[in-house]
Assembly symmetry: C2
Homo-oligomer: 134 residues x 2
DNA sequence: ATAGACCCTGTAGTCACTAGAGGGTCAACA
DNA sequence: TGTTGACCCTCTAGTGACTACAGGGTCTAT
């Protein structure tokens, strides 16, 4: 029921420092304190932290997390707004994947030129020198 | 032949500040100076900068760039070493792509749950609250 | 009494830039 | 001649999302 920061970290799979960091920047509400000034957490904190971590796992920025938390907290949101936010982020992820695939192809091509020999002439390096930009 | 920082930036597609930054951290050798203290660049600087930018476009870190520049400069490298560096980076890129595709699938699933209605009940948010981690 | 596992605050470091303050230099134009 | 504007300079601080100390306090067990 009540747990200290180390146990909360263990149960949510994130570092103690990260929890304190989230409190400092305001995405987690301040924890209650024991008489020795140790933080104590309840189940609602644990749920909220898990929620934050799941959003972070999906690549949402802390700003986006804050936005969604505000929407939920105030109950002043619509499914359409949430969907728009999700779709926008999904588009960003897809763009990043496309970028990385272009990089992957270029790199694959470059590495493929290497003979792997123990000599100081490397066609990958030469190709890099002559490659056009962008 | 001789060009100032603004023109070098224009020709290489990078910002003036970035060039000064590269000089400060030592990936670009210090430029010569005019009597008014303005930096002057020659063709070898331009080639080196283009080379750096191409590596950065491929996602190599500045540390990796430094390593490769050192190898080339000293001529004390083998094709096999270069290939290993390239392959390692390619593997990292592929891992990142795989991560992002998992994220893409999860997000696609979540966004697909939304009805897009103007009401404050959203199955994406609910699913997020119940999702397992990792 | 002392070791070890916790906890606290506060600051600084990471990466690769980017932005800004506060100034100097130079050519052209009125 | 004065002034506008495009350049250039240095130095510092900010970005995101943590992470790593430094330098302490607290609590339990041996
Ligand atoms: Zn996003
Ligand atoms: Zn090679
Ligand atoms: Zn790499
Ligand atoms: Zn919805």
């Amino acid at each position: 029921m009540k747990l200290r920061i180390g146990r909360l970290a263990g149960e949510t799979g994130c570092h103690v420092e990260t929890i304190r960091f989230y409190e400092r920047i305001g995405v987690l509400p301040p924890a209650a304190r024991e008489s020795n000034n140790y933080r104590v957490y309840s189940d609602s904190h644990r749920r909220r932290l898990l929620y934050i971590r799941r959003m972070r796992d999906l690549g949402f920025s802390l700003d986006e997390v804050r936005t969604l938390l505000r929407m939920i907290g105030g109950d002043a949101y619509t499914c359409a707004e949430v969907q728009a936010l999700g779709q926008e982020h999904l588009d960003a992820v897809r763009n990043k994947i496309a970028d990385l695939r272009r990089v992957e192809n270029a790199l694959d091509d470059l590495v493929g030129r290497c003979t792997g020999a123990d000599t100081p002439d490397c066609s990958m390096l030469e190709a890099l020198f002559e490659m056009p930009r962008e």
